[in-house]
Amino acid sequence: MPWLLRNNAGLAGVLVLIALVCLVGAAASDRFLSFNNFLNVFEQTTDLALVSIGQTLTILAGGIDLSVGSLISLTSCLTSGLINNNPDRVVIVVIAVLVLGTAVGCVNASLVVALRVHPLIVTLGMGAVLQGVTLLYALGPVGRVPRGFNFLAYGRVYGLPLGATLAVLLCILIALLLRYLPLGRQVYALGDDANSARLVGLRRTRILMLVYGTSGFCCAATGLYLAARFGVGQPYTGVNYTLASITPVVLGGTLLSGGKGGVVGTLFGAFLIALLNNLLNFMDVSKHYQLVAQAVIIILAVSVYVERRRTM
């Protein structure tokens, strides 16, 4: 995997920060570095990792997806509302929800193309619409998932948290697709220079469908995971993820302007955030200063390493 580090100085940065947090944690509490705690943190990474992996793609392509929060809420509500404690429906609903998430992403992409409006605005609007739809479906926590479904969020397979492991597999799959599919490379090209992309005849629509579709898929996966973790879907469950999903992307070395970065960095970015929260809990830092610490980490991570100015 040398290509992982070669084009991604940010990834190195996030690994250094993770090491740093571990050092501080080891000093703060002897329970912090235990394998069990590590597994806990790994498990706690899942939701943020899932949504951020999708977000990475939209950002790589020069866009952004601000509808993720509402889409997560919608999919989690639909999951528990439709399954409604009936184990027989699990498979069909899971498939349906994943398809729906992907479809919503594709609608985002189509709107960006058809209306020629900046994705920030399109997805912001879509976010409001989806929140409305979610509330139309459920004004409060809705339905229930069967006990066994919780296994997705709390279960351990060969000692590893199931959901988190699936998220890692998804991440690796997407990383490989980005690297080995022509369309994957073209995601980077589009993010790098949209006008050049048009002139050389790249299919913008198709690329956007891919990235926003993937983002939608990841949101649906997050929605499923949250429904499993909470046992129920709620209309506001995803609200925080809209902005939160950006941070791991950037921590992982993806440029917000697009064209450079990758999903593996994002995965570590999400892990860093979960680890940081865990450390601050262990150190009894109050929530107020946890926010401060998070902000400082973000600033440190993205501002210490400054890329040489490209022009002059």
Binding site: S29, R31, S34, N36, N37, N40, E43, Q44, D47, L135, A138, L139, G140, P141, R144, N150, A153, Y154, L226, R229, F230, G231, V232, Q234, P235, Y236, T237, N240, A274, N277, N278, N281, F282, D284, S286, K287, Q290, L291
Partner: protein, 354 residues
Amino acid sequence: QYSGAPRTFLFNPALDVCIRDTAKFKKAPPYVIGFANAGLGDSWRVVGLHSLEKAAHDHADVVKKLLITDAGHDDAKQVADIQDLVSRGVDLLIVSANTSQALDPAVTQVTERGIPVVMVDRRVDSDNFVTFVTASDAMMGRLFAQWIVEKLNGKGNVIILGGQAGSSPNENRVKPAMQVFGAYPGIKILDTVYSDWSPVKGKQVMQAMIAKHGHNINAVFAPHGLQVPGAIEAFLEAGWKGNEIPPITSADMNGPMKMAIKYKFPLLDIDYPPAMMGVALDVALKVLAGASVPCVYTINSNIVLTHGDETPSIPHPDMYVEKHVVPDGPDDMLVSGGMGPDYNPSTFKIDFPH
């Protein structure tokens, strides 16, 4: 002020009251107790947290450590917090669940690991905990609604000025209230609007409602106090004389009471005492001592009313607003704190074991 036995206990229609045996949790002190808080952000929760800290301070002899986490009203964070607290080795966990259903699996897991859980203020859906310390949301919602119905003699137009659409603290009071309103065909709900518990938004939406319905508004049902001062101001600024302001409901907040006294409009305030968080620690210690506790530990709410606004269901309030109000306290002051006269939330600091 009411000081009798808990009404919910006395008035409980069930033949038996559920009592939980906690012998299996008996443990010798000192204890490490964890508190997974849903979050802070409004004065009610701040005062509640302080009362918990005070209780820990008072029991420093048996409490070795009180570990507190704050989820910032984020379910995912609270689940993680609970896991982290368990990792850190607590003997008992107090949880104020951000969402009753969502925290259920996490709390259930803790219970299944043999760690006793005491819920406070907001419970989880299942019964997978030892006991729940609370005041009754349903009682508040119903009583608010019943009072409005009786004030209007069963006929009139009501605005529902809610908190956040779909959130459980809102629905837990609005739903029971709607059942009451639903029983009276003469009561018409003009509009249901949401303030997201923001005083600013509360005023904005109320101004729009007044512009739309004018004097057709006969009463305002607000399940919480935060949005009420803005609503009252909206009436005043729309030129309503003080006593024209329709009956309105509120909880815990000083401001509406001050205004009700000044402008002489009907106000029903039912407190939801934050002191329940301190009570939760007392109950937790009982559990760890192996003493039996009731399955639900409901503490009393004060029912506070303006003079002359008694109705058949509230013939005698626990007290009248003049007695409850803190005349020179700020509008957003919590009158139901129970932390003593010298207490000031912004300067409060107490030494407790952590």
